[in-house]
Amino acid sequence: MADPAIAVENLVVYRGKRQVLFDLSCAVPAGQVTGLLGPSGGGKTTLLRSIVGVQVIRSGTVTVLGLPAGDPALRTRIGYVTQAPSVYADLSVADNVRYFAALTSGADRVEEVLASVDLADRAADRVDQLSGGQRARVSLACALVGAPPLLVLDEPTVGLDPVLRRDLWNLFHDLARGGSTILISSHVMDEAARCDRLLLLRDGRLYADDTPAAIRHQTGTEDLEEAFLRLATDSEEAR
């Protein structure tokens, strides 16, 4: 693999007194869609927070685009979408996206970005008048507007209808083909097959770090959900 977009080495994170990530190492290749999969409560959000540089870590290193996570130079280069839509409910859709555009590149791509998340017709509406799925897309648009080379997305497709979900996955792959790196978390296994590469995180430990094809081959099953079950059982027995 050429220089990875994200390299995590021996990462240990505690939240309060509870250890959330256990000596975790992984690499996310540039220009691909990497899926971070696993059950809720398994540490996915904590790993993503460590990568975008808002999580206090106990030990280990996280290198993002060649710099230590949290480096000021990374702030224009990462688009981060939190699990709960973090946008201003009392502003219009366009005002939200315009504000985040000013915080990143300042480029006026508001209409283009709203079209790509299928919200062009809701630009003037206040966010608190939208459904949960629509709010999630406003939040995504706010991350896309700066055209960052790295997108870190925490469950961006939850609660969306299948057609829209497919469209967004196509958008993610288009962005990856354009050279962006995309790290996307999900607890829905049927999204795993759409990724170029998979990380399986469970109880703060990594169970798999490979392509879907290699995981299928290694576990001898075509069904990724079944493959994950086998990997999880194997590592629990090994422990």
């Binding site: 808002v54 702030r75 005002d95």
Partner: protein, 244 residues
């Protein structure tokens, strides 16, 4: 810090305020009505109305900006927007100055309307000029904002944030010299009064009312400005890019 980002943040906060016309109306109408009420409560005594009315022109913006800022900042913390802002190149100072700029505009509108009613219609008198009144009102609004920002770090819910209003404002109100002249308080209370920033804003407004622009007035303004900077610095220390 980046002026374009500070301006975008101020614009964003103002847009949020404008999208909430009921809050804007309350911001302007409540102090106006209270001022009119005060005028007729002290119907026989113009002097008393002058002194209390002027003090209130400093206290209203303090209270409203304290309340608006503590709730607005708590929302930024709990909705995740603050964490998200800190993944961008927005600096803490951009955020603080953005809020300060937006609330300064809101204060000018609030104090402008109330002053128009008080000076133009109710016959309130400030011998040193309305400019001084506006300056002191702005300073106490920014003081309220800075303290509101600080307490928002200690509140987990909007209920708690609102409870900080009586805790922070009422002691200052009781001890600022409005109800009893500070020189007549027992020593302990006078010392406490000397520690509280609102005392200086109210004392300054009293000087403005008497038309004495002297060293005491400049000292009062300087103390209020120093308290704003101190509260903002403490508030900024509660804003963390990295959290556990």
């Amino acid at each position: 810090m980046n002026p374009a980002i500070t301006a975008a943040t101020a614009g964003r906060v103002l847009r949020q305020l404008r999208n909430d016309p009921r809050t804007v109306a309350m911001l302007v109408v409540v102090p106006s009505v209270l001022m009119i009420l005060l005028r007729y409560v002290y119907n026989g005594s113009q002097r008393t109305f002058d002194s209390i009315g002027l003090s209130l022109l400093g206290i209203f913006p303090f209270i409203t900006m304290f309340l608006v800022t503590s709730v607005a900042m708590l929302r930024e913390r709990t909705s995740g927007t603050l964490e998200r802002l800190f993944t961008t190149r927005l600096a803490k100072l951009d955020l603080l100055l953005g809020y300060a700029g937006a609330f300064a505009v809101a204060t000018v509108v609030q104090v402008g309307v109330v002053s128009l009613i008080a000076f133009g219609w109710l016959g309130l008198d400030a011998r040193a000029g309305v400019g001084w009144v506006l300056a002191l009102a702005l300073a106490s609004a920014l003081l309220g904002m800075a303290l509101g920002l600080l307490v928002s770090a200690f509140a987990r819910t909007e209920f708690q944030a609102v409870q900080f209003l009586p805790a922070v404002v009422l002691p200052q109100f009781l001890l600022c010299g409005l109800l009893t002249p500070r020189s007549e308080m027992v020593d302990l209370l006078r010392w406490l009064s000397n520690l509280l920033p609102m005392s200086y804003a109210v004392e300054g407004l009293a000087r403005v009312g008497q038309g004495t622009v002297d060293a005491v007035l400049f000292r009062d303004v300087a103390v209020v400005l120093a308290c704003i900077v101190a509260a903002l610095a403490l508030g900024a220390a509660t804003l963390r890019r990295r959290t556990s």
